[in-house]
Subunit: 351 residues, 4 copies
């Protein structure tokens, strides 16, 4: 019953297999090996474009490198105030971006509305050179609340951003979970809707430590190799990074893994609802936020359940936590099994 995070899971079998297969013979370092080339091409096929791809070991690296690449040091990055880049990366975007400014915005379910972005752009435009001007927009897919942006929402945000010269970054640490919930292709959910650069996560989905920065317009990636290298994010035995992606992408495996994780989240949400527990935001990915009775905490923990309790501060204005309630984040992964879900729900049900 480990619902603490999807990064508490191990490697998915298909990723491990690819890793094992890569552990043969010699290969040129620093991404000059054949497998890296193949995976880069494969990612281009997945996204149906001539993408420039940069594999890195962490999501923080993917986000910070991306944002720094599309935002000048005197520029601002608009994003949701609860986004990972805002509160969980210890200032990585500011560090990589030479002191750029993160501008946190509100929004129910950790989603940004077009109106909010529009107001923020108006607020952070002009008064040059005194004021930092908005230079990019970062949206998280799926969000920290487990909600997702639909294709039309993405397109609308990108439209307003591009109309004002902002680049659009998508933090896709849980891109797969969002995608399989939509009736859309990877291309439709990204560059065709206007996304310029994607942090495409594999780690949470079933890899060990593998994320891809994907520039959909190759020209925008000029000097990204230097940026990645000087950040210490170019792996020498790069084939193992490539192998993780090879396994992850192979034959739609990544989508299969995500579908399972989402299904487990659905089962959990359904079970909890059936037990009378309020579910806070729409469950659109692999994350469930529930308002559990506080009294259950000790019992659930004692039974081996792992999850995080979120404070009121973090919840945002769109949630009211009752005095006897705790806001609990429950994350399912490819490794979550039905029995765990059912046991957890049963524990809740018996109170």
């Amino acid at each position: 019953m480990n619902f603490a995070s999807d990064n508490t899971a191990a490697m998915a079998p298909g990723v491990l297999d690819a890793l094992l297969r890569a552990n043969e013979g010699f290969a040129l370092g620093y991404g000059n090996d054949e497998q890296t080339r193949t995976v880069e091409r494969h990612l281009g096929e997945v996204f149906e474009c001539d993408a420039a791809v940069f594999l890195v070991p962490t999501g923080t690296a993917a986000n910070a490198l991306s944002l720094a690449h599309v935002t000048a040091p005197w520029g601002g990055v608009l994003g949701h105030e609860q986004a990972h880049i805002m509160s969980d990366e210890c200032g990585a975007p500011e560090f990589f971006g030479g002191g750029l400014k993160l501008i946190g915005l509100g929004g129910a379910g950790c989603k940004l509305s077009r109106a909010t972005v529009e107001r923020a752009i108006a607020r952070y435009s002009g008064h040059v050179p005194h004021q930092v001007n908005a230079a990019s927009l970062s949206i998280t897919q799926a969000t920290e609340a487990g909600t997702i942006y639909r294709v039309d929402e993405i397109a609308s945000l990108c439209e307003i951003a591009h109309a004002h010269g902002l680049a659009v970054h998508m933090d896709g640490a849980r891109f797969a979970n969002a995608l399989v919930r939509m009736n859309a292709s990877p291309a439709e959910a990204t560059w065709r809707a206007g996304v310029d650069v994607l942090s495409f996560g594999a780690t949470k989905g079933g890899a060990m430590a593998a994320e891809a920065v994907v520039f959909f317009d190759r020209k925008k990636a000029a000097f990204m190799p230097e940026r990645r290298k000087r950040a210490g994010h170019l792996l020498s035995k790069h084939r193992f990074l490539a192998a993780q992606f090879a396994g992850y992408l192979n034959d739609g495996y990544w989508l299969t893994l995500a579908r399972h994780a989402n299904a487990m989240a659905d089962r959990l949400a359904d079970g909890l609802r059936g037990a009378g527990v309020p579910i806070v935001w729409p469950v659109e990915a692999n994350i469930v936020f529930a308002l559990l009775p506080r009294v259950l905490d000790a019992k659930l923990k004692a039974a081996g359940a792992a999850y995080y309790v979120r404070s009121n501060t973090l919840a945002g204005d769109d949630v009211t936590i009752g005095p006897d309630q705790m806001l609990v984040r429950l994350v399912a992964s490819f490794a979550t099994v039905e029995a765990e879900i059912d046991r957890f729900v049963a524990l809740v049900r018996t109170g």
Copy 2:
């Protein structure tokens, strides 16, 4: 016959086994798992001190994080002009260090002499606040030339550095190769001789992507967790980083692997010398620099040999490359086998 680099090898079997064992069940992320704690303790035991340990995926990260932590932005890092930090990390130390200055010094066999360091400290002291002052010294063990610093040499360099307030960093990407050549313990070869912080490499030795920043005085590591995190170098599924070290360190495996690599380098050097090929620097680790006849290049490459030819510029003043010669770097690893060595030597011998 892949002698291009020790990072062209795959994972050593013992490391892979540990990785497989780690791929079980759930584990807390970001280094809060049990295996990470165990490995950190183990590293403390290896070095016989209460070390503060930070695992990261690349050597560039380990070096740059270390140097930034012991050098203020207005400080200078003394190092050999051929050192990896100087010419192969695309300015990572400057980036991580907020614009610190790398000061490259000469020296035969890529080694710094006490006199050279002493002169450099004198040169880069005073004239405050106009001049960047020397703030740290970085030595590479084993060096880019495949030579090593003996314990008394390290102690001598550390003494002069500390006498002037400089911290001492050791880039130990090939620490194991150096250590097994000396009659010294890990502690003797580092902090007992005065080293403050070590980039302890496992990747080149047989891991996949695992390096440890080791502060021998825990107090000097304050805020290193934040520094690592904001650089994107705190892995979420951290257990796999820990597992690599667990396998690498287990029962002296790392030393066994290094002894093999060194033995292969010795065999190669002996064979080439027997074939009349001049070996440039003492072979003290797993690297051989040889002055091969230029005419052999095509033949060796055709036979499948991989190695790098180094230009005159990079060679330094202590080597003269004849007009018909090429300076070739040949690196052995844990994965190098005698048959490859013998085949290569035979190819050279037959001319």
Copy 3:
């Protein structure tokens, strides 16, 4: 009728005189001249402590250097969301501070309350190393709204800050204007109340381009000379920077200038109130915010009046601007004369 800003005024006569007196003979550069030493001592006397003083040409430099010196790159600076450092320095604190984070907080009249600071500290503490933690507090004296912090308010904010390990910075671009309104000495209004470092402004008060960073504890200023130098803020003909302060501080001249500016602001506020114009915040320094009828704008401008109209967004929640009103900032300086005030009021009065 130039009320656009106090920086639209020229040099005050006493400052100019000092500048002229300094323009004699040769003097060592970079602050090694006698006048600089004298001024540094004088500032120590003004603040009744052994202060470390660094003169710089701009307030943005003073603020950014100060904040960077007391805040690690992974730290956060708490300040009012309308503060100059937040919205008018184009990211200077982030740049100087290696990517530190500015955390804007609300508060009526551009002032921070103890409760607000307390909540922010709680919000930005812990969750290490993922979250940027609050590391310093910056308060503006006088504030952007023309209000001031009284000694007990400063002491209360400093107490809560220090209790949690935060350093306290005061942006004193209009320190003199605030001080002369209080029954307090410079020492009482700063370090005795807990302020660690002050940006002590002279430019707006009557100098040409001169600000002083004042560390009340000399030990906290270690390496500040290097930080200033590498920012390009150590003037070579430093005597002219010192001379401005010499003239400004001489015989209480700075307080006399500030008293005049404040008196002009009072006269303006009184006149406008008499004309039925609402004054938004208490006039405690040399700034008046008034809700003028929109219809007057063209007429006033045509008559030569200069001022800035502030948008609703910038006003904060504590002000309501009626549909026919405009929020106008009117700043008086040492150079403002009664006749201008009276003419402006008359223009408003006649509608």
Copy 4:
């Protein structure tokens, strides 16, 4: 007899006059005043092009802002190892440039030869993304040795730089002194020879604290306003910065001042040569390097002479200092008078 530096002089009368004239009435801040516009236009006329001009208070700021603007963080700046940017700015270029790398090169008389630059470009090209690549070239006019680059030399260096994609920066802290020695216009000595950006110094020439960054191609200056502002180098009472330039440039005053300074240096060099003192480098600006007998030091100092003795280390390989000699730098300025020169020479002559 103050020959310590040209920055030990005060303001030239014509600059002071302009400053006094500027001290009238109100003027918009931050460079939005009329005088600033006029001076910017005037500078364009001086250089016969549509230049983008940015006034700043120090040469270090001018250099660091310029270099950061034309060099990516992963780029290298080629310059003479004795250049001010290399050894006297405490890492300002690295700080402003996000950790760019300064690459110091040798050369007699502090001048770079085409061959040296060509070799350096070859050395710092390729091996991407591991190696920092040369991205810009900085030449100093006049040099730290008091020598100058002739138009054909500048053109030759720019040609080789541009051929490899490097931008060219000229540190013209003593641009006037160099220019009046040549039969060339400002345009010919800069952009027509290929210079992209110039730090045009006025401070050493007779201003108080005023330097101009001049981009000869306006397009290359995009976002420079933001860069200057966030560095704290946009002065609020900007008119006084403009006024200094107005006075300096007025009617060729800057050239008159420089001619005087050079003539004084010539007189000094002639006098010393006549006294049997070797002059080290050609006296082409306002600086004389002489090998004075060591025994004279105490006597000269006692008589009130001020100068700097340069160590062997700093002298470079092209000078040999005898055991009884000291290498002395003597700098003349607009304020130097013949009588001082003659007195100094007489003191040397009498031994």
